[in-house]
Amino acid sequence: MNTVTKNSRQTAPSLVYALPTDMGIFRVVNKVEEILLSLTLMTMILLACSQIFLRTFLSTGLLWADPLLRYLVLWSGLLGAVAATGQGKHIALDVLSRSVPKAFAPWINFSTLVFCSLTSMGLSWAGILFIQGELEYELIGPLSLPVWFWSAIFPVAFCLITVKYLILCFLQLRRIFQMKHLQG
């Protein structure tokens, strides 16, 4: 099957893919993410365009602009991925889930969410190890900030993704027991 990049497909209400948008705390999170992402994007556009302007009209340029731009791309992408986690918008293959019997579906979804939590935990751990290694060297990146600072987005983003998946796990489990309760 093809990928699910949009939430165009109807999903059974018993399956949790995204954080509920009607809850106050998640609405705030969404808004914060939206503002952060828009600001990074605006910064990238303006930074790149001012480089062109400086070069063309004043034949000069900012040496730190290009490396900064490349790190901003990384930051915006990883923050975008954090947002995509909450909105259930990650690219995924979806071959078998429709042929899964309805009764198992919530449990299977729960186990994929557990898998997602574990893997993002693994990535967070790898990220922390990576930053520990980077701390040994005093390499300086753009804006006179150390390189480890710019790379710290990896563990930060993966930790946030882990938290979101853990919440999704919890929500899915709660949904399963609510359903049991209704049936019983």
């Binding site: 034949s59 290009d66 490396p67 290694g133």
Partner: protein, 312 residues
């Protein structure tokens, strides 16, 4: 039968003289150690650039690498001292200074957990431009490239009043093509294998600087070898790396002729421009110590160079 596998990476492309000689070197070691020490090479930058290679050595995925001066100097800053612009005038000078600095380099590398095996070289680098440059002013008016992460060329160009455009080596060709940079720096052989010469038609026939690199192993892995295997590596290095230097220089000479035959124009710098460049270089050096290189290594280098020039 392999007891010790060294995974080595380099940016040099497979099939280049650097990789070819390295393969002979590693075959010799494999033979001399009765198959116990094997080198596996990942060429062409498949393991990433110098910085990624260093990171992978830190965590033990790689055990060594053929590094460029720019890349390894992020870890061992003093190693970039021979890259000071307009320092050397002949390969004899280079060889004399290198021999003198070797013990200090080896020491400093060990402090960073690296075993310095041998130096490699790209050779003398020359300014090559899409526009004719024959004097100081012309130099300034073109868009100059400097390798990303090379504080020496950066500071030097700034002292010349140039804001260089910093790009990684793989981006240079397309930027030459699009006119983003006009003046680049490379050896004759380098400009041919990287195709830069097709765009940078005018070549200033005056060595702007010297580009080199190093083959280094992880100290941890090297020290774990029995003494006779360490000896085998050093012995093979003594045979094959001098051959590599000679081969590199031969390729550069041949490339000079190829470029001339292809119709690339060689231009002379006038004496006044050279003097201005050297003065500005000395001015820039005051700003580079101790940020880019230590005072100690700089003094030693100048000392060695004077020593050689005086004995002539």
């Amino acid at each position: 039968k392999t007891k010790y596998l060294f995974k080595i990476a380099t940016l040099a492309p497979a099939g280049s003289i650097w990789v070819e000689q390295f393969e002979l070197f590693s075959a010799k070691i494999l033979h001399d150690t009765g198959g116990e020490v094997r080198f596996r090479i990942y060429a062409g930058g498949v393991m990433g650039d110098d910085q990624a290679m260093l990171r992978k050595m830190r965590v033990g995925q790689l055990h060594g690498g053929g590094f460029t001066m720019t890349g390894i100097s992020l870890r061992v800053p003093d190693f970039r001292v021979m890259g000071i612009p307009l320092l050397f005038e002949s390969y004899n000078e280079v060889d004399y200074v290198r021999k003198g600095l070797l013990p200090e380099f080896k020491n400093q590398f060990r402090k960073h957990g690296l075993e310095f095996v041998a130096m490699t070289e790209v050779g003398f680098i020359y300014p090559m431009s899409t526009k004719p440059i024959s004097n100081y002013l012309m130099f300034k008016e073109t868009k100059n490239w400097c390798p990303s992460g090379d504080p020496i060329s950066e500071t030097f160009m700034k002292s010349l009043g140039i804001t260089p455009i910093s790009l990684t080596i793989p981006d240079v060709l397309s930027s030459l093509q699009s006119g983003l940079v006009e003046t680049v720096y490379n050896s004759f052989y380098g400009s041919i294998i990287m195709q830069w010469f097709t765009k940078a038609h005018y070549i200033v026939d005056f060595p702007y600087g010297y580009a080199y690199g190093v083959f280094a192993l992880s100290s941890k892995k090297f020290n774990a070898l029995p003494a006779e295997h360490q000896e085998a590596i050093n012995k093979a290095a003594e045979i094959y790396f001098p051959i590599l230097l000679a081969e590199t220089r031969k390729s550069n000479e041949e490339s000079y002729r190829v470029l001339a035959d292809r119709g690339n124009e060689f231009q002379k710098l006038d004496a006044e421009t050279i003097k201005i460049l050297k003065d500005k270089r000395d001015l820039a050096m005051t700003k580079m110590i101790p940020g880019a290189v230590s005072e100690k290594i700089y003094k030693r280098t100048v000392e060695l160079l004077d020593e050689y020039r005086n004995q002539k």
